[in-house]
């Protein structure tokens, strides 16, 4: 069955040379034309959401204007009031409703802001990883009772940050020129931390373990665990923690004097590549996970080819031919197994 979207109906109309009346009728039959009730419902929701959003933005602008002059107790009162208000809202709206989920997530997020302001006001001198650990611990009960992928994702991100910061600020402060990646922004800096294979492996265990736990629980049929957002995003992080160091090792082998690179990451990559292809093909079909694994595999093969196989003037041509072959083959295989899964 093919969903009748606007684009699909337009395509049908063009292909069949429908006249204007027939086209309008096709739009009606597709259920794409709104009626009065739907219009009023959408108008109600849109105006409510936009009005509330602008007022919240305006209030935020007011406090931003006056933030430095606010007494610290007023700052705490504002943030704690926001947390309490969000929790009450989540309770009144039911934590399983869309509004309740959003309110509980907002409360969990504001806890972090409160901790940051606390550290700013009292200059506690604590290491930054402590903020993320405390944040994760404080929201843990809400994460457990909240039963939503968003909260679990927030917790996962906090655990990753806490581990990274503990590693590089307390255990093994980085050395070498590559720490200059901090200058390129926090995301690049975080991404470059996997150049230490020990940290990368720990991050891999943290994230891959979370995916395995989620999939095992989901296989037991728990309804709210059927969402694919959490395992896919966490799986992507897990894949990156082994793919990143593998690519760095291939491209700049001489870097191992400065970066902590070892064969562990490539070995883990091969293992996770094989496990992903097996599990998501035969146990729980997920084309996204298979595509990401294939993409990772293509990147590794291309990196090996660039580093070792082709040199000289004609190398772009040969690399292009290899890339076309790899991507074409992967697309063909993915299409075939998607068709097989649809037929099953």
């Amino acid at each position: 069955m093919t969903r009748a979207t606007h684009a699909a109906v337009d395509g049908l109309a063009t292909a069949l040379a429908l006249d204007e009346a027939a086209y309008r009728r096709a739009v009606d039959l597709a259920g794409l034309a709104p009626d009065r009730a739907a219009f009023l419902r959408n108008l109600d929701r849109f105006l409510m959401a936009v009005g509330a959003m602008l007022i919240v933005a305006g209030v935020a602008a007011f406090f931003a204007w006056n933030w430095a002059g606010l007494h610290h107790m007023a700052k705490f009162a504002l943030l704690q009031g926001g947390i309490v208000g969000a929790v009450i809202l989540a309770w009144r709206l039911e934590p399983d409703s869309a509004g309740g989920r959003a309110a509980l997530f907002a409360a969990a997020f504001l806890v972090g802001v409160l901790l940051a302001v606390f550290g700013q006001v009292y200059q506690t001198g604590a290491d930054p990883y402590g903020l993320f650990v405390a944040w994760a611990l404080l929201i843990l009960p809400w994460v457990i009772v909240g039963r939503q992928a968003g909260l679990w994702l927030l917790l996962q991100v906090l655990l990753n940050l806490a581990l990274i910061l503990y590693w590089i600020q307390v255990l093994y402060p980085p050395e070498g020129w590559w720490q200059l990646s901090q200058l390129l922004g926090p995301l690049v800096w975080l991404g470059s931390t996997v150049m230490d294979w020990r940290l990368a492996s720990l991050l891999f265990v943290l994230n891959a373990g979370a995916v395995v736990a989620w999939e095992l629980a989901a296989a037991r049929g728990v309804p709210w665990l059927q969402s694919r957002v959490y395992p896919r995003l966490t799986g992507l992080i897990a894949l990156y923690t082994v793919l990143g160091p593998t690519l760095v090792m291939i491209f700049v082998a001489s870097l191992d004097e400065q970066a902590q690179l070892a064969i562990v990451s490539p070995a883990l990559f091969v293992a996770v590549f094989a496990a992903t292809l097996w599990y998501y093909q035969y146990r729980r079909f997920d084309l996204f996970m298979l595509t990401m694994a294939m993409f990772g595999g293509i990147l590794v093969i291309m990196a090996l080819a660039i580093r070792h196989a082709f040199e000289g003037y004609g190398s772009p041509l040969l690399l292009a031919a290899l890339l076309i072959g790899l991507v074409g083959g992967a697309a063909f295989w993915l299409r075939a197994i998607a068709q097989r899964a649809r037929a099953a």
Partner: protein, 363 residues
Amino acid sequence: MSRPASLEAVLDGLQAEERLTGPAVADGRALIERLHGVQPWYVRTMVGFGAWLASLLLIGFVAGFGLAVGGSTFLGLALMVTAVLVRRQPAVAANDFVIQSTMAVSLAGQALFAWGIANLLPGDEFKLGCIVVAVVSSAMFVAFPDRVHRVIMVLIAASALTALVYALETNGIVPVLGPVLAGLLVLLDRRHAALVAKGHGPWLRPLENGVMLAAFGCLMLSTIYVLPDLGSDFTFYPQPWISTILLGALLLYVGGDVFARLAGPLRRNARLLVYCLLALLVIAAWAVPGLLLALVVVMLGAACGRRGFVIAGIAFLAVFVTTYFYGIEVTLLTKSVTLVATGAVILLARWLLLQVLAGPGDA
């Protein structure tokens, strides 16, 4: 709006109402069968990545011969023609890799061609480059039958023309560009069914999407002053009120039309109230014309059930408000008052409109 049906059900419905002949139904079924083979976005992204990289490697290989300006122009033209000829083959329509490769080749060809022509002709390179880019992308919009490519062409053409306006030091036109593009979008939307029936469907939707995104971009450029002067040649000081007046007029037109179409016939007083509320909204959003453009786009989307417009309008509003927050031409206190006042007017409008529209006399 009822739940979206399947394309098969639409075809069956048209056949049952005898709007389609037997061969047309067979063609429709064949089209639906082809649509079954469309891959999800992430597979297409992977294929697109490979195709773009492979195309750039091939172009890098050719460019490695060390071409002169004339050679670049010829090579660019050759790449564009090749991309168009390949993309127009019917067999290519189902091959994501070839589609993405031809798109990359086309864009690289356009860049080489525009650079070459701008260097070959006498005069200001930048201005000439803008004109060549606008002309070439307009031609490629027609010649290259791909919806994503067509959206990109509209955006490139609009960007080139906007840059040309700055280069010609006619900055006063810039605040008008966003509302003019929004007006074009409204016009296309009003004529959508007629244009699809005349066989213009393949380019209509990309044009609408491209014009909408270009309107967003032009309005941001002309109404929000975030960065200091980027160069002595350009002046980026915004004039939001010009856009507000023009978009306000457009909002009154679209709002009145949409309410008349979807809310049923209104009493004279109710109609007057709708217009008063819209006018009040325009006044409240005097410094925030992005809100008016977002409302116009969302209303168009809500009126014809196009979720893409609604999502784009809301996303633009969020981006605009965020950027407005960081704008440096207005104090935070003024921003705060503006945002709260606009939000309050919208909530008031919501309450009043729902009261009026729910009335029995207007049902």
